[in-house]
Amino acid sequence: MAEVSTEVKLERPLKKHKKKMPKEDVIFYIFNTIFLVLFAIVTLYPVLNTLAYSFNDGNDAIRGGIHFLPRRWSIKNYNSVLTKEGILVGAKITVLRTILGTLTSLFANALLSFILSRKKFLFKSSLSLFWIITMYASGGLVPTMILFRYLHLTESFWVYVIPGMVSAFNVMVMRTYMEGIPDSLEESAMLEGAGYMTVFSKIISPLCKPVYATIALFVAVYHWNAWFDAMLYNRMNPEYTTLQYELMKLLNNVSATSSGPVGASQGGQTASAQTVTPITIRAAATIATMAPIIALYPFLQRYFVTGLTIGGVKE
């Protein structure tokens, strides 16, 4: 122990990392590294395993024992999934709602954050309170559903976009960020004759790009993953189904409790029964549905993370 402390005393001011580590530390690092690698494997393995199954021949997959790589390669699973009527419609609606929903929601949240972050706005505190209450008290599933029916929002595409446009939580994050922008920018623009809307579009918004990106990504992921609203409001309208809802139906049809090789007998539903079974279809559909997120994830993940801490940077 005595050795440890002298070493620290001498080395710290000179170098950031000590070169020699005490034995206790070496053991700790080894175990810590092993533990974290195991953690990463546990996180990734199920995804990679599903990927392997999705590229494997159907009948062959029933035997199990596939881990990281397919045993008998086949892309028939994807052929079968990507030609399903429901999946195609679902994909179209999901892309549409993701784009439209993200744009409208971003605009709505940004504009509300803008007026709430103006120091001179007369109703600033009352309007914030009005929205903060909505974070804690919600009407619940049934009253909301009935309201949407009265408003003729159910059985339509717009139920995905209009009701969830403003989120108090996102507004609070954006508002905190906007409040960190110096007032002098707004004041000088106004002296030169700019109105509030010009300040919003020409001065505040360009400075808010990072927080806009983060919120937009959160909303986009929400829309991409949404299925419950499709089930609740558009169950009878296959033309407004969403991708995740189609995936859910597929998974439920194919096997209820996924108790082992259920597939063989049901495999006959599909045209090329020899190579496509429910196990591999499920895998292919799952992978196809998560593909866009996985593909974009490495490039966008830093925005995701800043979102959690972004509001707090400015105080």
């Binding site: 402390s5 620290v8 005393k9 710290r12 530390d25 690092y29 974290l36 953690f39 990463a40 546990v42 996180t43 990734l44 199920p46 995804v47 395993n49 599903t50 199990g64 024992g65 881990h67 007026i115 120091k119 007369l122 109703f123 600033k124 505190s125 009005f130 804690y136 008290a137 919600s138 619940g140 049934v142 009253p143 909301t144 559903m145 009935i146 309201l147 403003v166 994050v173 508002r175 905190t176 991409w224 993953n225 419950f228 998974l251 409790t257 996924s258 108790s259 082992g260 090789p261 499920r282 799952t286 998560m290 997120i293 995701f304 959690l308 801490t309 972004i310 707090g312 940077v313 105080e315």
Partner: protein, 354 residues
């Protein structure tokens, strides 16, 4: 953990004082959303000396007022009208008759709810799973954050972290598909158990009620640990490194530093997050349970939200009033829990939400 923190408080030497100070800063930085909530309350006082309500000022910012009005209208329709819908719980609501013509039944619907065995069962399930999730996700996320913080190789640290929060962005449907594949008869869990000769034939986890709660908790951990750890990592990073240095000069080992510096510093963050999550204990019980549950485990899988959904969707015995009543119960309990947690934190002199 309770023990550790109170121990360290008794000591109250230089490090702890510094740590406590630092922790407050960390919590403020990390829990941005909470701050902004509080902010509105504080600003109210400031504002009274701020803009004066004059005709001139009103005219100057008419556009803000108009936009604000649009948002009020939108909020009234989509957020406040459903609250008015709560009166359905005191009626025998029929969609065709509407809210004005349906028959009033007083508290009958609530009486029915609390005499319904199924409802008591779903309350129990929701609470147990909510508390299990809250406890384990907090502990595991903190442990993960602390361990990750000890890693020196930046690239290794970054890769592990990036991998760790990937599942957060997958939908519950995908997660359930993955989880049920993993624990299926041909899945990796059974394969490992078979190879280790712990079992001699595949075990169907999803068909056994005893395994449902652990599976739900584990699925949550798989999906959210990395994500939950982000906020703790941010708090750990903002702890003053001087604390660790002076502690090691005094001969503190790695684990002592974790215990007497890191954990006490995280205390405010942990408390604020716990309070915030208290309100979600009942909300965390829908998608996963709905998707992962099956008829064999009905008794333990069904939650309040699933119960409500049954009344709202099932064609034969649909009863909107009962669904509304159960929803009111849920909201009331959630708000009570938040207020309660907040009061306890206030009494103990810790950070609080409002």
């Amino acid at each position: 953990m309770e023990n550790q923190t109170s121990n360290s408080e008794k000591k109250l030497d230089y490090y702890e004082l510094k740590a406590a100070n630092d922790a407050k800063l960390a919590a403020k930085r990390a829990v941005a959303e909470t701050e902004s909530d509080e902010g509105s309350g504080k600003k109210k006082k400031k504002e009274k000396t701020g803009p004066k309500f004059t005709k001139k000022e009103f005219k100057r910012q008419w556009i803000l007022v108009v936009i604000g009005g649009v948002y009020v209208l939108y909020g009234l329709i989509f957020n406040y009208l459903p609250l008015i819908g709560w009166i359905m719980a005191f009626q025998n609501f029929k969609y065709n008759k509407g809210i004005f013509k349906s028959k009033w039944v007083g508290m009958d619907k609530f009486k029915f709810l609390f005499s319904d065995e199924k409802f008591i069962l779903v309350i129990r399930n929701t609470f147990v799973m909510g508390v299990l999730n809250l406890v384990f996700s907090t502990i595991v996320a903190i442990a993960f954050a602390i361990l990750l913080n000890e890693v020196r190789n930046k690239h290794f640290k970054k890769s592990i972290q990036t991998i760790s929060y990937l599942p957060h962005f997958l939908s519950w449907i995908i997660v359930v598909a993955i989880v049920s594949d993993t624990v299926s008869n041909t899945g990796i869990i059974n394969e490992i158990l078979l190879n280790l000769h712990i079992i001699d034939k595949p075990y169907t986890f999803l068909a056994h009620p005893g395994w449902f709660w652990p599976l739900v908790t584990l699925s949550h951990l798989w999906k959210e640990t990395g994500w939950n750890a982000i906020i703790y990592l941010a708090a750990i990073t903002s702890i003053d490194p001087c604390l660790y240095e002076s502690a090691s000069i005094d001969g503190a080992g790695r684990f002592q530093k974790m215990r007497y510096i890191t954990l006490p510093s995280l205390r405010p963050t942990i408390i604020i997050l716990l309070i915030m999550n208290m309100g979600n204990v009942l909300n965390a019980g829908f998608e996963l349970q709905y998707l992962l549950g099956n008829d064999l485990v009905r008794g333990v899988s069904r939650t309040i939200d699933i119960y409500i959904l049954d009344w709202a969707m099932d064609g034969r015995n649909m009863d909107y009033s009962l669904g509304t009543a159960a929803g009111i119960f849920k909201t009331a309990v959630s708000i009570t829990l938040i207020v309660l947690a907040n009061t306890i934190a206030k009494k103990k002199g810790d950070e609080r939400l409002f």
